[in-house]
């Protein structure tokens, strides 16, 4: 055991979980502790995934979901940074609107889905908006708090050097705000994905969320689980990419400060 690398141990653990799951659902001729109608067998789910792929729907659904999530993510980041910067500098305005922003931030953003469907219909727009809103608040609050928590000593040090207002923004404020934004990147990526999927749950004509709800509705457990596993894989890959980007951009930070 001690000679195995971390990656190997982790892989073995996942394999063991899958085998246990397969056994509990009556694979390998074992008695089915869990009814395969309620909990799909992993092997059956994987076979279903292949069928789903062969039908051509998989690519279409994945594309639809990722498209909505990506557009929502990018717009959410852009909007969050912009508003965060503006309100971070315009303190009186920020103080005025703060309660409303806090209220929106406290609202489970997913609850906006029905409202957005009414406003933007069953197409991609409503999913983009849901992803956008979920991301926006995370990025906005990080930007806003980032501006407020700029180290006053650094500002002082640069002012003595003769830095003007714009130079202070460029040398101190923006870099420290970006640190806060980058740190929220991973969360934003997984939020955008949930936004898109939940939007599809509530009302859509395509996408992974839509396909999942349809399958569950007709008790097609295998396909529901197949999509669930697919979503999990996509999320893991996206978050890993976000983590790499984040680590690269924040490589100047002491390791202890990085939340892993």
């Amino acid at each position: 055991m001690r000679t195995l690398s971390l990656a190997a141990r982790r892989l073995a653990f996942v394999a063991a979980l899958l085998l246990l799951w397969e056994a509990l659902t009556g694979g390998f001729g074992t008695p089915a502790v869990l009814d395969p109608i309620i909990v799909a067998r992993p092997s059956a789910a994987l076979r279903e995934l292949a069928r789903y792929s062969d039908s051509g729907l998989l690519v279409k659904d994945v594309t639809a979901t990722l498209e909505a999530a990506t557009i929502g993510l990018l717009l959410g980041i852009a909007g969050g940074v912009l508003f965060g910067l503006v309100l971070g500098y315009a303190r009186p305005v920020a103080e005025t609107v703060e309660p409303v922003l806090v209220a929106f931030n406290s609202l489970p953003r997913i609850a906006l889905a029905p409202v957005l469907i009414i406003a933007f219909g069953l197409g991609i727009a409503s999913k983009v908006f849901l992803a956008l809103f979920t991301v926006f608040f995370v990025i906005f609050f990080n930007t806003y708090l980032g501006i407020r928590s700029v180290d006053p000593e650094l500002v002082k040090a640069l002012r003595v050097m003769g830095a003007g207002r714009w130079q202070l923004a460029r040398y101190v404020v923006l870099p420290s705000v970006f640190a806060w934004i980058f740190a929220a990147l991973r969360t934003s990526v997984s939020f955008a994905l949930s936004g898109a999927v939940v939007g599809e749950f509530v009302g859509s004509t395509q996408g992974l969320g839509y396909r999942m709800v349809i399958s569950a509705g007709v008790l097609d457990t295998n396909r529901t689980y197949a999509i669930l596993l697919l979503l999990m894989t996509i999320a893991v890959i996206l978050v890993e990419v976000a983590k790499r980007v984040e680590d690269r951009l924040l490589r100047w930070r002491p390791a202890a400060q990085l939340i892993t």
Binding site: M161, G162, R253
Partner: protein, 256 residues
């Protein structure tokens, strides 16, 4: 740069008077140490000279003139006790900051950085981030970052206070070498008597709060000075005894 402090008193808004009637004239090229117990307002005085005091928090009496004019517009350097390097910039890029602010051309910037890195023996560490190097190394970078843009006067607020004894002496030696070469005006705040004598041409002893100028001592030790040798000399010991006699009372806690 000549720094004249005339009858300066500072009272914080809460009614606490930290400085009272301070007059110090720092000639161009002079190296003056402000020595006093903690809380006597040494750092506040330095901040006043640098124009860093928040007028909403304190009122300033008297007049501070840099080369006869008001502060802020002049080129000042300030070395803080706390590390104020930009954590997202490498050591090299940190040295660039002041030069960028003052619009020095890139080629000149790079050339100067190479010289300054060599001056404090940090070759090989140019691309390191501040958190990757020791406190002593960071403090060296703070020092040369300030020298880099050639300020006409440098204010130093216990810059070696957080360092261990060995690093402290090494940096004192480096500072003395730089001052011998450039003769930039330096005002150096410290509560360490030996440090004040080692570095300064003049030592201004401040009383405990509210800080007043108690006495000014000339330090006639010859230049160039070697901090490691200096401490063993008889002259150093004599100066230490004389100044300590003046300082002793100020370090005592006042009876309640």
């Amino acid at each position: 740069m000549r720094i004249s402090i005339e009858g300066v008193g500072i009272v914080f808004r809460k009614g606490v008077r930290v400085l009272d009637g301070i007059s110090i004239d720092v000639a161009s090229g002079d190296f003056v140490a402000l020595l006093g117990p903690s809380g006597c307002g040494k750092s506040t005085l330095l901040n006043a000279v640098a124009g860093l005091l928040d007028p909403a928090e304190c009122s300033v009496e008297g007049r501070i003139a840099l080369d006869g004019g008001r502060s802020s517009a002049r080129r000042l350097g300030y070395v803080f006790q706390r590390d104020t390097l930009l954590p997202w910039r490498t050591l090299e890029e940190n040295i660039h900051v002041g030069m960028e602010i003052h619009g020095m051309p890139t080629a000149r910037r790079q050339q100067r950085t190479v010289e300054l890195i060599a001056l404090v023996g940090l070759q090989g560490f140019e691309r390191y981030y501040p958190h990757q190097v020791s406190g002593g190394m960071r403090q060296r970078v703070q020092l040369v970052r300030t020298l880099a843009y050639e300020p006409e006067a440098i204010l130093m607020d216990e810059p070696f206070g957080a360092l261990d004894a060995q690093n402290r002496m090494l940096l004192q030696a480096e500072l003395l070498r730089m001052w011998d070469r450039r003769r930039t005006t330096i005002v150096f705040v410290t509560h360490d008597l030996a440090e004040a004598i080692t570095l300064a041409q003049r030592v201004v002893v401040l009383s405990k709060r509210p800080g007043r100028v108690k006495r000014v001592f000339d330090i006639p030790l010859p230049s160039p000075r070697d901090p490691f040798e200096l401490r063993a000399s008889r002259q150093f010991a004599e100066l230490e005894t004389r100044i300590w006699a003046e300082l002793r009372d100020e370090f005592r806690v006042a009876p309640a």
